[in-house]
């Protein structure tokens, strides 16, 4: 593909200019005449019956215009996918601190706040379910009150059945058995959740939103508000970060604002403040992962059995699917004779969990990559050598029993980070005995990550391209760019496929009224699925242009060749792009095309735990070098070396941005980002208590892409946004083991954990939560 002109070349991002000048408009930057401000009354207790809910005092507050509750939604606001177990606003009971109970619309934010404080609500406390290991006990209180998907607090199970590992484990020379615990993680996007809902003539609704998946948002809004899909329009504003985090909470926020807009006939804007966002929004699920790993004395991995339990929290949200992805990766990117995995997910009152970058794989890889390191230590083997001995290579069979019919550059990834980090020298130097307060270590972890949705469901995207009389080319997409750079990828693919200058391309904000439904913007699938759909659509419109050019140049369409934007005939006559567009219009041709691309079909059988989970995988490896102060417990990451193999890189600056950004989130996950629940009360209620790494805490990162052309990718590209973070945390834990000789087998490794082995003392209770939620000063 040496002839590529824009793909893989340096490029500015499609929407960077409006962002560096401060002109990009996010939800809170929209204001329309007559707009009301909304505020949600949220539960300050983790589990209780709502015995009384009287909103009439709020309606007496000056400036308050309306209040909505569960009764303002169809079926009391019951919604959720894949399990319908959540409410737009709590009905009958609250299940976590932050659960929305009512929403007030008022002439000002101050009046809305006074409004929620005036609402009379009586809670009758229920026993709190906070320990995932006791959630399935027969005597445990039960969190869901909808038709239970399993029984009690069981929200689902997943399994992998690839042979029988038990006899092999029994016969293995070395068997390692350990449990690893992962706390929740908060997305902490810098922009909080919000919505602007505008009532339309004829009973319709337009909603400006900052979630990820506009068509799912539209369908939920229509269902919850009792409107046909055709009467609800969702427009994506600029989104200030999401990382998986603004879908379900975003849909709830939109529904709350939407109900008030319909009720009042006025536009309603609802923006969550930071504490609300931290308390009410869903998290990466906490997970306990128990690994049994068998190897022969020479270090060859034999079999694995993994049991994991995910904390779904109050609602299942995406946890059934992220726990499935965790199951599909739980034994890591290695060759085995047999693997079995058993996963379950349980309801608790610990907030609620849902999608977050990596989607179960940070925990799966986080566990197995510590376990493999522990095995290397027992066998007195270099951790990279042991991985190279066992890692997946071309034509190998994965832990789920599937032969890899694609490039598998994992060994190359490990070799690259080994050389670039000066691994062998540092590893030896740090092993030679260190004394004093400050110790150093270097650690490695590698990963595989199934591309796109896999067995989760239908996987497709549809784009449209049209060309106007000025030669401007407009692409519509139902997939959202919340910072990951997908708009730029589409611009580059379109420019490449159509042979046009980037300056001609316009991509309107995603809008359910003008774009075509394309499934969710999740699973790092925007480049692969959306990029392919863009290319398919561009090829269609190119045929129309070639036909017009052939007509004007008196040759056959297949005789047209291109030089830049020029269309050239066999007799070397040529026309500019604008001339071809003009001629096509004169011919009455429609310069419009719609194109769809679908993932090749495969099938995973959820009941038997067998089948094909993903069409293809990306691979990668990371090395972390750390320094830890044994007196203070503070760990400093000195450097990260990272390589990712995800096919062809389409947009280099964007790709490196994803790599660096993913690693920064991995550093936070490993060391500082601490979401704890104490009897259901969240401890991370502001950004002072939830520490996101700053510019000094993210070290220089040496990043690299091992590129190849995947046959099913647009110009050979697969995906990358999520996998970039999943081996950062285990690499850091493994480096800390070299530095200290200790393993904590839990994240985050805060100074307190390093010093005492236990978590921070809990101090946040109902009073602090009331304050943080605005219920009192």
């Amino acid at each position: 593909m040496s002839e590529l002109k824009v793909i893989g070349k340096r490029s500015r991002s499609e929407d960077g200019l409006e962002k560096v000048t401060g002109k990009a408009r996010y939800i809170a930057d929209y204001a329309v005449p007559g707009m009301l401000m909304a505020k949600v009354l949220r539960s300050p207790v983790p589990h209780a019956w709502i015995r009384e809910l009287d909103v009439t005092p709020a309606l007496q507050v000056p400036g308050v215009v309306a209040v909505a509750t569960a009764d303002d939604f169809v079926d009391h606001g019951l919604w959720g996918w894949p399990i319908k177990d959540a409410y737009a606003l709590a009905w009958r009971k609250v299940r976590y601190v932050g659960d929305g109970v009512a929403v007030v619309a008022a002439e000002s934010e101050a009046a809305a706040l006074a409004g929620i404080r005036a609402i009379r609500v009586a809670y009758e406390p229920l026993p709190v379910v906070s320990d995932i290991h006791r959630a399935l006990d027969p005597e445990s209180a039960v969190v869901p009150d909808t038709e239970a998907p399993g029984q009690g607090n069981l929200a689902g199970r997943h399994l992998v059945r690839n042979g029988d590992p038990d006899p092999i484990l029994a016969a293995s020379d070395v068997v390692l058995e350990e449990s690893y615990f992962f706390k929740h993680q908060e997305h902490a996007y810098t922009e909080t959740e919000g919505a602007l809902a505008i009532p339309e003539p004829g009973g319709g609704l337009t909603v400006y939103a900052n979630d990820q998946s506009p068509f799912i948002n539209r369908n939920n809004l229509a269902m919850l508000l009792g409107l046909p899909d055709t009467k609800v329009r969702v427009i994506q504003a600029h989104v200030g970060g999401s990382f998986g985090g603004k879908d379900d909470i975003g849909y709830q926020t939109c529904a709350q604002a939407g109900a008030l807009a319909l009720k009042t006939g006025r536009p309603v804007r609802l923006i969550l403040n930071r504490s609300e966002s931290l308390i009410a929004s869903y998290k990466r699920e906490a997970m306990d992962v128990r690994v049994r790993l068998g190897a022969s004395a020479d270090g060859t991995l034999q079999a694995a059995r993994v049991v994991l339990r995910a904390d779904s929290g109050a609602y299942s949200s995406m946890t059934p699917l992220s726990a499935w992805r965790a199951s599909m990766h739980a034994a890591g990117p290695y060759r085995y004779q047999a693997v079995q995995v058993d996963a379950d997910l349980v309801y608790t009152n610990n907030g609620y969990s849902g999608a977050y970058r990596g989607f179960g794989n940070p925990q799966a890889i986080g566990a197995i990559e510590q376990a493999v390191d522990e095995l290397a230590d027992r066998l007195k083997r270099d951790p990279i050598d042991l991985r190279l001995q066992n890692c997946l290579r071309d034509q190998d069979v994965t832990m789920t029993g599937n032969r890899l019919n694609q490039a598998v550059p994992l060994a190359e990834c490990l070799t690259w980070v080994r050389e670039r980090s000066d691994w062998d020298r540092k590893r030896q130097r740090y092993a030679e005995g260190q004394s004093g307060r400050v110790r150093r270590g270097i650690g490695v972890a590698c990963y595989f990550h199934g591309s796109s949705l896999g067995g989760e469901g239908a996987d497709y995207a549809t784009m449209t391209v049209s060309i106007d009389e000025h030669g401007l080319v407009t692409l519509t997409t139902g997939l959202t760019d919340y910072g990951q750079g997908s708009r730029t990828v589409y611009m580059l693919v379109l420019a490449e496929a159509l042979g046009i200058e980037k300056r001609r391309i316009r991509i309107p904000r995603p809008d359910t009224q003008t774009a075509v439904e394309s499934g969710p913007t999740v699973a790092s699938r925007a480049s692969m699925l959306g990029g392919n759909a863009t290319r398919v659509t561009a090829e269609k419109i190119k045929q129309i242009l070639n036909w017009a050019a052939a007509d004007a140049l008196h040759c056959r369409p297949d005789q047209i060749h291109r030089d830049g934007e020029l269309f050239i005939s066999p007799s070397e006559e040529h026309l500019s792009f604008d001339e071809v567009v003009r001629h096509a219009r004169e011919m009455g041709l429609s310069l419009y095309a719609q194109g769809k691309w679908e993932m090749p079909k495969f099938h995973w059988d959820f009941d038997t735990g067998t089948g094909v989970p993903y069409h293809c995988y990306t691979f990668g490896a990371q090395v972390a070098e750390v320094e830890v102060d044994l007196d203070s417990g503070w760990t400093r990451v000195l450097g990260i070396w990272a390589t990712h193999a995800g096919g062809r890189v389409l947009f280099p600056q964007g790709a490196f941005g994803q790599l660096y950004g993913g690693i920064a989130q991995g550093i936070g996950y490993a060391l500082t980002e601490n979401v704890s629940f104490h009897d259901g009360y969240p401890q991370a209620i502001d950004l002072n208590r939830y520490h996101v790494p700053n510019a000094l805490e993210v070290p220089p990162i040496d990043g690299h892409f091992i590129e190849y052309d995947h046959v099913d990718g647009p110009y050979g590209a697969l995906n990358m946004a999520e996998p970039t973070m999943i081996s950062t945390a285990p690499a850091i834990a493994n480096a800390l083991f070299q530095a200290t000789g200790k393993r904590w087998r839990k994240f985050p490794l805060t100074p307190k954990v390093i010093l005492t082995g236990s978590d921070d003392p809990d101090r946040i209770g109902e009073a602090e939560c009331r304050k943080a939620l605005g219920l009192m000063d």
Binding site: T21, Y189, S242, I663
Partner: protein, 163 residues
């Protein structure tokens, strides 16, 4: 309270509640929405502006503190005809922009640093950016953008001296 200050080079004369936050006044009264709100509790720094060349969090600054001072927001960084500054251009070229929400504050943090320290090391740059949180980029390309701009400005100054 009547306050007089310069905002992006223009003289301002406002009658305001002296205890209101500058972030509110910029966004609500003056419609300068390039200053973003991420927390309103001075933890994230995405509302940062320059007050007399010093980086400050606008959510924690009250109106009374503007009186007699000079304010620069993102709207005042580029040229009069909408052209971007060299630093903004470097953000675009280095791929330093993802979701964009922290970027106005990051541009101002970089600008404040370069005014104070024309030849910063990469560690200096990281220190200069440390009060503004970015959740997308891992900071590396933002550091690159500031470093590239520092070198270009140094080179331009050297050329000037030679001439």
């Amino acid at each position: 309270m009547n306050i007089q200050f310069t905002l992006n080079g223009a003289r301002m004369d406002l009658e305001v509640d002296p205890d209101r936050s500058v972030a509110d006044i910029l966004r609500e009264d003056l419609h300068l929405t390039g200053t973003k709100i991420g927390c309103d509790t001075q933890d994230c720094g995405v509302c940062s502006i320059l007050l007399d060349d010093r980086l400050v969090k606008a959510c924690g600054l009250t109106a009374r503190h503007l009186d007699g001072h000079g304010v620069l927001t993102i709207e005042g960084v580029g040229g009069p005809d909408g052209e971007v500054s060299d630093l903004q251009a470097a953000f675009l070229d280095e791929g330093a922009v993802q979701c964009g929400y922290c970027i106005p504050a990051m541009v101002l943090a970089g600008e404040a640093l370069l005014r104070r320290n024309p030849a910063p090391s990469r560690d200096d740059i990281r220190r200069g950016l440390a009060t503004v949180l970015c959740r997308c980029t891992g900071y590396q390309q933002i550091v690159d953008a500031v470093a590239v701009t520092a070198r270009a400005r140094q080179a331009a100054r050297t050329t000037e001296v030679v001439r």
